[in-house]
Amino acid sequence: MQCLVMLRFRTLAVLFTMALVAVGCDSPKAEFHLDRVFLHKTFGEPESREEADSLRNQVQNLKEVMVGLFGNPDEPHVPQLTDLDTTTVLDVGLIEMAAGRVASDEAGRGRGLYREHCAHCHGVSGDGAGPTAAFLNPYPRDFRMGKFKFKSTPLGVKPTHDDLRKTIIDGIPDTAMPSFRLLDDDEVDSLVHYVRYLAIRGEVERRLVMEVMTELDTGDLILDPEDRSNALVEENLELVKGAVATVVGQWANAASQVTEIPSPPDQWDSHDSVQRGRDLFFGSVANCVKCHGQLALGDGETGDFDDWIKEIDEKDPASKAPDFLALGVVEPRLLDPRPIRPRNLRTGVFRGGRRPVDLYLRIKNGIEGTPMPAAPASGLSEDDIWSIVAYVRSLPQEPISRPEVQVEYTRERL
């Protein structure tokens, strides 16, 4: 009897030790990964062995150049530019506060904020492929294309500092993106700078990949460490600097391109205005109905994809995704390239904010990276847009917006 129990104790001890060893397996060092989907798309499948080798060298060199420019997650660098002040866009102090491992000092000032709060979803490289990402819908944003949805600037222009602050502080309702309102002001600023750093890093990488593809001869390195003298190096150095300057410049200019929001006309949310908005919504100019559907339940055009999924393939990402998976790239968007759904406008939940000005900006400027278009420059006046805002805001109040009625409707359609 005692013997038996002792035996059990031994089994127990063995199990404990095994479990603890399993727990103790060390995690890899944090580093920035190159965007392998983009690389593969750009360079395609190498045809011969030599080609594969020279490509590998080029990519390795690219990786080194990237580390030279931006450092690594534990020691980030900010590339220095001679004719552009980078500090408003990339503040070294703030970036360092968000980078590296998690810690805090006696005054409670945090360190490693990005890894503490963001990386488990957005990934260390900002690729939106953190460990939890596959389980979230929508997927966490991949910063590397430098596209952000909810902002006060037109399509194609970067978000401002305050736009990113707003998303971090308010969070995004009905998604896994939480509100960080409990963080200190400078902590949020630090995260904004770090997100921008990751975005710029990603965009510069994409540009350099394109440069290698278009400007360099097969097998040529961007910056050959053994060859510091000749003209080619000078030329390539200019290419690299040019890429960085373009991207940083775009971010620096965002603040000057904020869309001006005209104050709404009198009676903008009157019954008449709502009716006008309704007509516009269904009309052929705005044509919101095309995507958002007859009942604005977001069931009009449902087969489209957002730009992050379209990266896999414009038309049929689902059938191309396995190719990338076969290369060993594990990203949630490859595991399940979900189509984008136009928003159901009857829930009253708007991801970019539900204030009239938020809706004005969404409708006026569209939503970056998604099929949601900007209002056509001609054909819709500012007052028209305010009327549409009024109509969109009135939708959740209509009887059909109650869930039972919607279920009924869906059943009928099925």
């Binding site: 129990v5 479990a19 603890l20 727990v23 995690s27 389980f135 308010d170 998604t175 409990l182």
Partner: protein, 340 residues
Amino acid sequence: MNSTIHCESPWPHRFALVLVCVTFPLIWVGGLVTTYDAGMAVPDWPSTYGYNLFLYPWTTWFAGPWDLFIEHGHRLLGALTGLITIALVIVVWRNEPRRWVQWLTVMALVIVISQGLLGGARVIQDARQLAKIHGCLGPAFFALATAISVVTSSFWKQGPQLEIIGNTRSLYRVALFTAVLAYLQLIFGANLRHIPVTADVGQFRVALFFHLAGAAALALHVTILIWMVFRLTQPVKALRRPVSLLALLIVMQITLGVASWIVKYLMPISAEGRLREGGFVIEADGLLQALTVTAHMAGGSLILALSTMLALRAVRLAPSGTESSASFFCTSSRLTELTT
């Protein structure tokens, strides 16, 4: 009954109980340290910002930031637990004749010391992997403290009061296995929680799978245990109570587990669309998140301790009577008098 060893002193049990009662809050606070990512709020060890652990000015401690408050508090509670363990070792060695019980307390002391060192190493080397081991050894210590308090209890010394007919032997086997499972499940949970940010989605998926499978297995085992306990011919309160409480805890724990996911990531994607969401915004590091997740973690330790207790009691009730079992079970003359 010449071979009977007498264990008269109530003190070992009392000290063991105190140890259990101090360890549970220690585990809570430890969980909070992880929840708030406060593990590095004090960068040095064993000193706190240069001060001796016990001499760190309490005004600075109370008035300081929350991170520092819980990390230093965790250290103080840990030190207290260590001191109580030392006391327990002394009391047991002086009053308890059973060798193996004496060595159990030594084992507890070794664990508590390693636990302190691990915690320290985690700070000095800033290694999250060590944090995970530290977090897994804590509940093991809690279970050990519970075990010591069970084997020194009067229940243990008294033995079965009535003849129990039923399959007690397979009962204790299942109970022991449940305790092991509870511990493994705890480790799976820690694995999920401490998943490194450098892990990829595949690794997270595996960690999640194990934790969910563990939950299912544990729930199944507890159901079987309930069935076995309530099927015994005699209503054995000493088993019925813990097993019922265990079942209750499992239900709570599963609820808390689902809640932990929801307060962090919103609806699991399998439930999306079917449950209407109402424009809910998660608050990062808010009270709701911290309490839910820490309660889930503490619940795991409680389940482990309770299943350990149940297993040991089942061991005690299993048929015995051989010579060698005397030193194992021990009796108290006071109790024997009472019962004969």
